[in-house]
Amino acid sequence: MTLTAILIVASALFGIGLFGALSQKSFVMLMMGLELMLNGTLLAAVGFWSFTLAGAPEGQLLAILIMAVMAVELAIGFALVVAVYRKRQADVIEALGTMKQ
């Protein structure tokens, strides 16, 4: 278990998440892509903390902040899904064409 291996796994998770976030049509699947990207970020942060910081606790603090970002993203994302669905009966991204204006 080396830092390089961990970072490569993290970048694989990030790449898969980016693919999902760009390709999925439904809002919830898009948010799953974002979560997967944050998953990779979390892994990279913990890896850096464990292998390069000699145990300085700020690295763990960064990981906790990433987890807070995940929670915020999920809560606001679901609230927006509910709001959009209620207003427009929309559950896919293409249904929001008029938002471009």
């Binding site: 278990m1 830092l3 390089t4 961990i6 970072l7 490569i8 796994v9 993290a10 970048s11 694989a12 998770l13 790449g15 898969i16 998440g17 980016l18 693919f19 760009l22 390709s23 999925q24 049509k25 439904s26 919830v28 699947m29 892509g33 979560e35 997967l36 998953n39 913990v46 890896g47 903390w49 464990s50 292998f51 390069t52 910081l53 000699a54 145990g55 606790p57 700020e58 763990q60 603090l61 990981a63 906790i64 902040l65 987890m67 807070a68 995940m70 929670a71 915020v72 999920l74 809560a75 606001i76 609230a79 927006l80 899904v81 509910v82 209620r86 427009r88 009966q89 249904a95 008029t98």
Partner: protein
Amino acid sequence: MTDIAFYTLSALAIWSGWRVFRVDSMIRATFALMVSFISVAGIALLMSADYIGVATVFMMAVEMMVMALFMVMFMMNPAGLNPMQMVHQYRFSIGAGIVAFIGLSVAVLATNLPHNPLPAGRDTMRDLGIELLGASMLIFETAGVTLLATMLGAVALSSRNGRFGNSEEGALPPGLHPGGTPAGRKVEKGGGHGGHGGHGGHGGHGGHGDHGMKESDKAGDKGDTDAGHMHHHAPAPDEDHQHTPKKEH
């Protein structure tokens, strides 16, 4: 031993992360995402980040339950009974994902990473607690206040009734005739989809029109755009679309 566990967990994390976007059932996708998160939590435990790992497991268990609930509530085809592909700009997305992976990997391999590992036997959880309520307390409290603001925002966004009356007031355009369906509703959904919602009314038929929309989504993107054009130019096919969902119920 640690290496075997690490490689197993990494393979599990990547494989289940990949399965998230390949399975038909959205519930299965949710659980695949949870497996991916728990694998990452296991890797964190291997790196002796005890608190992070266990907290991730707890958080993800709850979060994925919420996500599964939302899947059932909002998404079409939650059980994956018939195969479907809910993707757009597919090739571009694959390209972007691969480019991100290769770019990050090359960056990792090309960098001369410092090596200064965790001293053995260090009490990491105690360190974290001292840090959270000591030097970094401001950051920690800021995160807490941000979460509070998130809760308020989520409630404000998703509540039906605002403080000053119905939150939908003003969000919908007025009807073409008094008491009629809102104008602009058909343009909103584009093409054949609009026919259901607009003509079906908002009472009993709203739900049916919605199912019709999902069915026609499954039929494929090509037919979708064609139907859109026909709908805008000629009113006659609209009647056809309107009757389609009624057959299904």
